[in-house]
Symmetry: C2
Subunit: 143 residues, 2 copies
C-alpha cells in the first residue's frame, strides 16, 4: 500500500491545487489498495463523511490519471476501475463466467512487449491490462 502523503506532496511540488475533495479521493484509493469504480469511490467517500458528486469524482480521477498518479483499466462487463500506480505493477485476469478478477504480476507481459517493440516498432503501454478467459474453477466445470 502506498502512502497518500507521498502522492499529495508530489502533486503539491508540481504546483497542483489540493482541495479536500482531491485529498479524500487519493486517500480512499490508497487505503483501498484494490481497484475501484467511480461508483465505489463515491460510495466509500460518502460512507466516511465526504459526499462528492459523481461529476467531481470523474474529474478528479481524470486529473490523477493525467498526472500519472492513477491507472485506469477497462474491465469490460465489470466496468472501468482506477487504482494508484505502485511499483508492483500488475494486470488482471477477468473470468468471463463468474466475473472474478485475479491479479497477475507484470513480468508475464515482458515477452509480448519485447516482441511488439522489435517486430512492430510499437511502444506498448501495457498498464493494468485486463485479460478475459476462464478462471481455475470455471474452466473445470465447462467445455
Amino acid at each position: 500500500m502506498i502512502c497518500a502523503e507521498a502522492i499529495v506532496s508530489r502533486l503539491r511540488e508540481q504546483g497542483e491545487r489540493l482541495t479536500i475533495q482531491r485529498r479524500a479521493v487519493i486517500e480512499t484509493l490508497c487505503a483501498s489498495g484494490d481497484h475501484l469504480t467511480v461508483q465505489d469511490l463515491q460510495t466509500q467517500l460518502a460512507a466516511q463523511g465526504t459526499a462528492l458528486t459523481e461529476t467531481t469524482v470523474y474529474r478528479i480521477v481524470q486529473w490523477l490519471k493525467d498526472r500519472g498518479a492513477v491507472a485506469q483499466t477497462d474491465l469490460g462487463q465489470s466496468g472501468v476501475v482506477y487504482q494508484v500506480i505502485d511499483r508492483t505493477l500488475h494486470h488482471h485476469l477477468v473470468c468471463l463466467r463468474c466475473g472474478r478478477v485475479v491479479d497477475v504480476e507484470d513480468c508475464v507481459m515482458d515477452a509480448l512487449r519485447e516482441r511488439l517493440r522489435r517486430e512492430y516498432a510499437f511502444e506498448p503501454r501495457i498498464d493494468h491490462m485486463a485479460i478475459f478467459g476462464l478462471c481455475r474453477d470455471c474452466r473445470a466445470g465447462h467445455d
Copy 2:
C-alpha cells in the same frame, strides 16, 4: 474473407432462426472484413437498402457473439467493434496519440497464453485484443 454462406449454414444446422436482418448483418460483416461498430453496421446496412434499428443491430451482434461467430473488441476511445471470427486471428495495436489501429498476428500472444495457463491455471480467451501504446511514427516525435 469468410463466406457468409458458411456462417449462415452453420447457424441453420444449429437450429437458429435466420431472418433477413440476421443474414444482412452477417453479410455486411463478412464483406467488410474490417472491424465495424454498431453504428458502422447500421450505416452500411441502410446504404444498401436494409434499414435496421440500432436495437436490432445490437441484438444481432450479441446473438452472433454468443454463438461464437463474431468477436467483440473494445478499442477504448475508438469504441466497441465487431468482426467475424476467422482462422487468421489477429489483434490490434491502438496508438494513444494518433488513434491509428494496426493489426498484429495472433502468435505474439502464444507465450503469454502458455504462461497464464501454466502459472495461473487460467484459460485465456485472447481474441482480437486491443493493446494501447505509441505507433512507429508517434513514438519518434515524442518522449
